[in-house]
Every structure is written in structure tokens, then in C-alpha cells.
Symmetry: C2
Subunit: 350 residues, 2 copies
């Protein structure tokens, strides 16, 4: 089965490139509300499931014991741009556990936020693991280790060594939460190593959407997981800058819509979202792995179609589902947009 | 018609994403040697046709009159990384015309070569038009203006104003050369504005491949264009660093294979190449517009299949058509590769 074309890139009035993908919209009881393409093929959700991977941070008691702020909880669910505020929040999380950034096993990379990258270079500095877009998630894992091992300082450091491996006690909790939320066993799921070295397990879009529907309403989850999901969603709604950063899609959407939408981008063209007021979860994957221009456009069109929006919000979302492309001189050269067929198929879903 | 899957990205042993595209291999008489997918749909060739767009630089007499070096001619065909040597060569071309970089209408952007970007930032500098990946091509246009208008200095500056517009005398020559080489009329072709503000015209892959076959042997071209194409190809073979830059595909391939291959990447997943010893031209376009990982892998697999290679060259090409992906900690997480079906379909073509 070919997945349908969901996004097209135009140069002038001519379609230059296009993107295929699959989408699942599922309610918290497991009913498919809407879908297109193959939603049964297991796909690697990558960073789109950080919310579910952060559930043990709350259920373990770590968030309470360490007094994590909303900004820090949001950062634990983030793929951030490595901007100064992100780096500071990750360092603050670690400071509460008594260890430092040398415990992190995510690897270092230059901030994806370009101005922050160049600021770092101008200061003659080099990036650290704190600049890694996953440093908040990894700091959250250290917090879980702190809460569940009862250790601190050097002993916590020893305990955490190898925490990115599937069999480490912390990673077992993370995987267990992901499996339970998505109602999908992961023991025999196709496995890979993510960009930040933790395992990623292939899960069908149906189950990912189910997991995000449940995370939105709590239905289908044990009470502690339901409460944890609500707390994380509200933390993100309070501190949407922390989950992505300046100019980024997730930050822009949640700065505008608050807790009505909890969406999260993942590498290789994946997106997941909770729409709590509908009791629906959304999961999508672009065939070609294009995240920044394809998956984002699809998610914007889905939000437009799935929840009622006031005119200002609708206009703001439309600038994300139908974006103008400029060249280096600022001249308008084309656009990216959800296809007419895709929009038509979504009509009437609210 | 669906274009076939040509490249797949694996995470661990599992296919995570994949890329569809179309390929035309055409000889200098216009016979299709091999193809897959839709090679009749007009596509924007973007920067993949810079060699053809640079023909007037030689046929106008500008290259001789201004004493352009091989490095400068190669830069006129380049999408370079904005490294210091590229910037210096573009400035040198302009110096020979007597105008400076303020004449350029390509726009400024930070060097795409990341280390050069950060070096610029460390020095507290900002990028100029010379850092634009198209600055060599644009400097070549100024050289054409210098040769064809007979002007220099301020008068040349005035003449060049608006040279990126389709109706400017210089751009008319560029478009005419492109049309003639590809045997495709462009007056009514779908048109768009390229990233560097010059027009881009949609041309079928068949015609693009034909143009590159002709540029490889000269057959089917007027004598002056045939000689110009040979001179540009040899200039690139002498100075392959200039056409792309450190670590870049085109530079790596031509540093190894010299004048046996003249290949050029374009934005939005386009590639063109001449294979002079076969009398063949190659043109390809990925549906999703993915250049750096999809179009490059396809071009590498095509070179492997289309010309006989010694074992070291074959191994080097294989590292480009089957690349290992590492994460931020340097851990092997997956691979990119030409699909088995694509390789099988290419078998026996040498």
C-alpha cells in the first residue's frame, strides 16, 4: 500500500517536491477516529514519545522529591534548541540530584538553535552534553535514578553508568511506561538506538495515537500514570518554550493553544499529540523522514481540522500548514502546504 | 505512476524511512539507456545545471579575456560551502572585472560548511554574498556581463543591476545555453525563482540527461558550446574542491575519478552528471526533495553501476551509496543505502 501525499512544496505555482505519510487519530478507548495510510506498520517514534518516557519521572516520586519546576518537567519532555535557558534548566535538574553533566550519556552537539550555536562559537566555547537537544530527557532519567536508587553523589553516578542501555533499571521503567501507555508489548518489537543513545522501539501509529489519547484523558491508564501524564502536559502548557525553543513549531503551537494540544515532534518525520478535549491522540510518520517541513505541516493541518479554533488561532495554525518560503534575499519563491485532498479528507471531523 | 523506492534509511536492521525518485540515463544521441520512474515530468533542476549555465562564461570570451583560472571556472559551476578558499576565488573573479561583491544579487547566508560558519562567528564577522553557495556562479554572470557589454567599473555595475531577472541580457544568454544544451524550449516552461534569485525552469529528466550527455562528448552541441563544456569539465576535474568543498560528495567523487565523472548536486533532491567515456548523461530527482542523503546515495549507486571502477574506487563509491550513520556519541545506529531492487535493475549496464 502506498501512503498518500500529504504535503507538497511549490516553487512558484508548480509542485516541486512532495511528501507521503500515514496518520492515525485514535480515541482513548482504542477506536480509530480517522486514519490514512498504513497505521499498523511499526515505526520508530523517536523523540515524539518523550512525554510517555517521562512518566516515571513523576510516578517514581522523583519530581516531588527533588522539587522539579514546571519548566524542568517540560524540559524532560523536550527536544530543545540548546538555547541558554534550556542549558540552565538541565543543569538545574542535575544540581538537584547532586551530580553534574558528566553523568549524561547523550553526547554533545552544537545547539540546533543557530544563533545560540554562533554565540557559543563567538565566546570561544565548545558544546557540552547540556546543549544536546535531549539533555532534559536525560537529566530526567538521572532524577529517576536518584529517586528509585535512593543514592546521591558519587554513588548515584556509579548507579547511572550505562543508563542508556535497555537493561538498566531506569531504562526498564521508561520502556515499561511506553509499553503500558501504548498497550503494545516491546519485548520483541524491532529495536534501534536513538540519536541520544537510548533504545527506540518500533510501534504502530495506531498504538502511538492510543497512548497519546490516554495521556490526554487518563482513561486506560493506571491512576498514577494518568496523574503523571496530566502533570507533564500542564507543565508543558506552562513552559512551552522549554519543550522546543525560539521559533519552533511545538513552542509556537502550545504558546497559543496551551493545554488544548500537547504535541511533540520526533526525528525522521514523526509527530504525536494529545487533544484532551476530544479524548483523541494523533500519531503520524512521513515515509521520507522529513520532520521540519513535512511532519510539521501535517500536524498543523490536523490540529486545524480536529479541534475548533477561534479565528486568530486558526490563522496562526494556517501559517504553519501553509507556509511561505523565501530565498536568501527575502524574495518569496514558493510555499509548503497540506494537500487539498488531505484537507478534504479531514473535513467534518470536529 | 509512483516512482520507485531507490534509497532506504535503516535504524538497526529495520527500515525507518525511504525515498522515491526517478532517474534518466540518456546517450548523446537522445537514446534512453536506462530509466526508472517518470522522466517526462518537468522538474526544476536547480543548481544541478550550473555547468550548462556557465557555458556562456566561456563562449562569450569572458573566461579568456579575464584570464580565469581553472579554480575560478570550477567555482562558476559550484554550490560551495563558503569556505575561505571559495570566498577568495569568488572575490578574485570579481576583481578581474573591476567591480566588487556589492554587485552580487544572490543574497548573503552563513557558510554551509559548519566549521567555516563558526570560524566566521568566532571572528565576530557576518556573512556576505561571497559566502553564498552560489557566489561563484553569480561572479561568473558578472564576468559574462563584462565580456558582452564591453563595460567595466561603475558602468559594468549599472549594466549588471537586475542581472538575476529573466529578461536581463546576461540571463538571456544563460537560459539560451540551458535550452540549447537540453534541446528543450524554455519560453513556456514552468518557471520559478531559485534560492539565489535567478530563474529556474522545469525541464524533464530526459532532457537534462541529454544535456549532460552532450556536455560530456560535445556531440549535438555547436562547436563553441562543445569546447566550452569540455573546458569547464576539465576545470572541475582539476579543482574539484572548488565545486563543493570539504567532505562534500561532488568534491570527493571528482577528486577520486577526475574527468571520468562530472556530477553536480541541486537543491530539492536533484542530481545531474556527465559520463564522457560512455557518452551518457544522468539526471535524477527524488520526489521528496531530499538531496544530501537520498540524491547522493542514488548518484553514487549509478556511478558504481554505469562505469567500470577499480577496486579502490569501487570501495570508495560504496561508502557513498551505503553509508553508516552514527549518533552524537559516535555509536553506529543505522545506515543509508541504495535498495536491492534498484541495484539489481542497474546490473549489467556497463
Amino acid at each position: 500500500m502506498e501512503n498518500p501525499i500529504l504535503v507538497e512544496a511549490l516553487r512558484g505555482p508548480t509542485v516541486e517536491s512532495f511528501h507521503r505519510g500515514a496518520v492515525a487519530v485514535v480515541d482513548d478507548r482504542g477506536r480509530v477516529v480517522w486514519s490514512c495510510g498504513d497505521i499498523e506498520r511499526p515505526i520508530f517514534p523517536r523523540s515524539a514519545v518523550k512525554l510517555l518516557q517521562a512518566l516515571p519521572l513523576v510516578t517514581s516520586g522523583a519530581a516531588d522529591r527533588l522539587g522539579l519546576t514546571s519548566a524542568e518537567l517540560a524540559l524532560a519532555c523536550a527536544s530543545h534548541g540548546g538555547e541558554p535557558a534550556h542549558v540552565e534548566a538541565a543543569a538545574s535538574m542535575l544540581a538537584k540530584t547532586g551530580v553534574d553533566a558528566s553523568v549524561l550519556e547523550c553526547g554533545a552537539h552544537w545547539p540546533s538553535h543557530e544563533a545560540s550555536e554562533r554565540d557559543l562559537a563567538r565566546r570561544g566555547a565548545e558544546p557540552t552534553a547540556l546543549n544536546n537537544n535531549c539533555s532534559g530527557k536525560h537529566s530526567g532519567f538521572v532524577c529517576v535514578g536518584c529517586a528509585t536508587s535512593g543514592l546521591s553523589g558519587a554513588a548515584l553516578f556509579d548507579f547511572m553508568r550505562g543508563y542508556v542501555e535497555p537493561e538498566h533499571p531506569v531504562m526498564r521503567q521508561v520502556t515499561q511506561a511506553l509499553s503500558q501507555a501504548t498497550d503494545h508489548p516491546l519485548a520483541h518489537a524491532p529495536a534501534g538506538v536513538d540519536g541520544c543513545s537510548i533504545p527506540t522501539y518500533a510501534i504502530p501509529l495506531f498504538n502511538l495515537a492510543l497512548g497519546f489519547a490516554r495521556a490526554g484523558t487518563g482513561i486506560g491508564l493506571p491512576a498514577d500514570m494518568a496523574q503523571a501524564a496530566a502533570r507533564l502536559r500542564l507543565a508543558i502548557a506552562e513552559a512551552p518554550f522549554m519543550v522546543a525553543g525560539s521559533g519552533r513549531f511545538d513552542t509556537r503551537v502550545m504558546q497559543r493553544l496551551g493545554a488544548r494540544v500537547c504535541c511533540k515532534i520526533g526525528a525522521e518525520g514523526v509527530y504525536c499529540a494529545s487533544l484532551p478535549e476530544k479524548g483523541w491522540g494523533v500519531a503520524l510518520k512521513m515515509d521520507d523522514g522529513n520532520t521540519s517541513r513535512a511532519a510539521e505541516v501535517v500536524m498543523a493541518a490536523l490540529i486545524e481540522a480536529l479541534i475548533p479554533l477561534g479565528s486568530e488561532d486558526a490563522m496562526a495554525l494556517r501559517t504553519l500548514s501553509e507556509t511561505v518560503m523565501h530565498n536568501w534575499r527575502g524574495r518569496r519563491v514558493g510555499s509548503l502546504r497540506a494537500t487539498t485532498d488531505f484537507r478534504a479528507a479531514l473535513a467534518g471531523l470536529q
